[in-house]
């Protein structure tokens, strides 16, 4: 009857978003008077999971699962849920979790609500609040099935620590041939860059930069902050930056701690996509730019002067505060 949480890892390392879902699962488990069981696939170091509230960790080690595979991973989680008789299953909002959760939901005949922003308002009936209309509204949704799946929105619960002694248990799922119908031919991934999905800080720039040749200063600023770089839709449509950097309603969602928008006017579609970020900063030479109504802090001025200055001062600040 425990709350089951799928804790994602990459190259054997538990991801930070996985710790947030464990913390959240602990919150629900407390509401329901039960405990948290985590299921991890090919993770080497799981010691942190207990710190955020997992009482039991089902460890799956299987070479066939060394690459993410939605079909097989969903199968593993479903089997773990059945063996634990879990009625509530928590996943994150990462691309991989969103890939596997629908299959998991069909497999377990479970109602699934993604982009959830808070602990359930009540657990009987089971009602959760989630982001809809790309952050322009919240919905309160009742999950009516016996088994329930929640996709927690990134950065919406926080890394709440809850030291628990966790028992590890090896878990060997039954995998069938159908789980491996898809063959991964190649993976092309920049390993030296912070991804928008994982980033705590995102530095984003728009048409105000006048051309792709001016992105050096954006990358410098991002590097100084350990941030990911992003861009507005027109910038990706014009091919100045890759599509994978496009954030907004039809691009990637951003839910970072800090979002810095440089030379982005703030079209409604852009603002919707980045609205889940906690703190927003705008740098724009047009004081009438709509972004000034959506941001927390702003500087009206020329990005070409301000951004290099900001980078330089941040370097000094980092040197003093580290």
């Amino acid at each position: 009857m425990s709350v089951l949480v799928y804790t994602e890892s990459e190259e054997g390392k538990i991801k930070k978003i996985a710790l947030e879902v464990v913390a959240y699962a602990k919150g629900i488990a407390d509401q329901m008077g039960t405990t948290v069981t985590a299921v991890s696939i090919n993770a080497n170091d799981i010691s942190e999971l207990g710190k955020y509230g997992a009482s039991k960790i089902l460890q799956v080690s299987n070479d066939k699962l060394s690459n993410f595979n939605a079909e097989a991973y969903a199968d593993v989680i479903a089997q773990a849920a059945k063996s634990e008789d879990a009625k509530v299953i928590i996943v994150s909002s990462s691309a991989n979790s969103k890939f596997l959760a629908p299959a998991l939901a069909v497999n377990l005949e479970a109602g699934y609500v993604p982009n959830v922003t808070a602990l359930p308002e009540s657990t009987s009936p089971f009602k959760v609040k989630s982001n809809v209309f790309t952050n322009k509204a919240f919905a309160s949704t009742e999950i009516k099935t016996d088994v329930k799946i929640i996709g927690l929105g990134k950065n919406s619960y926080g890394l709440k620590e809850n030291e628990t002694s966790a028992a590890n248990e090896a878990f060997a799922p039954n995998l069938d041939a159908h789980d491996f119908d898809m063959e991964i031919v190649s993976v092309d991934k920049a390993t030296d860059k912070v991804t928008i999905a994982d980033a705590e800080i995102v530095v984003s720039a728009g048409r105000g930069l006048k051309g792709p040749e001016n992105w050096g200063m954006i990358e410098d600023l991002a590097k100084t902050l350990g941030a990911a770089t992003a861009c507005s839709k027109p910038v990706s449509d014009m091919g100045w930056r890759p599509h994978s950097e496009h954030v907004g309603q039809t691009g990637k969602p951003v839910a970072s701690n800090l979002y810095i928008a440089i030379g982005i006017s703030g079209a409604i579609q852009h603002l919707a996509g980045i609205n889940a970020s906690k703190v927003k900063v705008v740098i724009n030479n047009d004081p009438e730019a709509p972004f000034f109504k959506a941001a927390d802090y702003g500087i009206v001025g020329d990005a070409f002067e301000i951004v290099p200055k900001l980078t330089e001062k941040l370097k000094e600040f980092k040197a003093q505060n580290s």
Binding site: A137, F138, S186, S244, Q269
Partner: protein, 246 residues
């Protein structure tokens, strides 16, 4: 090759979002509805398969008669036939079940859906459909080539992309990148005229049950006023001391 493109009928990206009936219903008054942008990328790729590989393209939507103009637009872009399943789109699972039923009965080789709709952002319908049909599934699909019953798909992953080999029948959840923004087609007059006489079949739904029920909506609290600063020193100090994000 038979392709089915699932079309979600959604408010235009610039729409103001409001609710009515005690915050239980989306206010559709004065809202312009469009083909969900992610679905439009998929429809555009389907047109490519039609023109280069002789595929037949059907479009489908689950919804009331008010969604027909959106399906007609898809026909004007070039789809051959449209299907409307005559029931309100309640939750993701019940929609997936209706779509999967038609996809199975119709023997479609490729079913295309958007990664998510821009209204409810559920992102679950394509994946559920694939599981219900027993087809392969690629989400966040940004590239697709098909030869015979073999498919090569590119999937966007956090921080990069992954190339996959799979086979038909296949369901994809697609997004921008599958085609470019500049590839999108605006229906021309000829297309619009032709769309009027193309079949739009209305099907009655199969028995299905919603697993989730949205009880109410609310809008985010209004935002506090922005703090404008003159210098980067002030900004750094506020981000460190007040916002505590650096």
């Amino acid at each position: 090759m038979k392709i089915l493109v699932c079309i979600s009928h959604v408010p235009d990206t610039t729409s103001k979002i409001n609710f009515t009936d005690g915050d239980t219903k989306f206010e559709t008054n004065g809202v312009q509805f469009v083909i969900n942008p992610n679905d439009e990328f998929g429809l555009t790729r389907a047109m490519w398969f039609k023109e280069k590989q002789g595929a037949t393209v059907h479009v489908i939507n689950v919804g009331g008669p008010e969604t027909e103009p959106t399906l007609r637009k898809a026909l004007a872009i070039g789809a051959d036939e449209a299907i409307r399943i005559n029931t309100p789109a309640t939750d993701g699972f019940s929609v997936a079940k209706q779509l999967a039923n038609v996809a199975k009965e119709g023997g479609y080789d490729l079913v295309i859906g958007g990664r998510e709709s821009i209204d409810y952002n559920g992102g679950m319908v394509p994946g559920m459909m694939a599981k219900l049909i027993g087809a392969n599934f690629v989400n966040t699909c940004i590239g697709l080539e098909i030869e015979g019953d073999k498919a090569t798909a590119i999937r966007e992953i956090d921080g990069g992309k992954e190339t996959l080999k799979t086979s038909l029948p296949l369901v994809i959840g697609c997004q921008k990148g599958l085609v470019q923004e500049s590839d999108l087609r605006i229906p021309n007059m000829r297309g619009i005229m032709q769309a009027r006489s193309k079949p739009l079949n209305v099907k009655e739904p199969i028995a299905s049950n919603a697993e989730t029920n949205t009880v109410s909506f609310e809008k985010p609290a209004p935002k506090g006023a922005i703090k404008l600063v003159d210098t980067v020193d002030e900004l750094i100090s506020l981000l460190h001391n007040e916002a505590k994000v650096i």
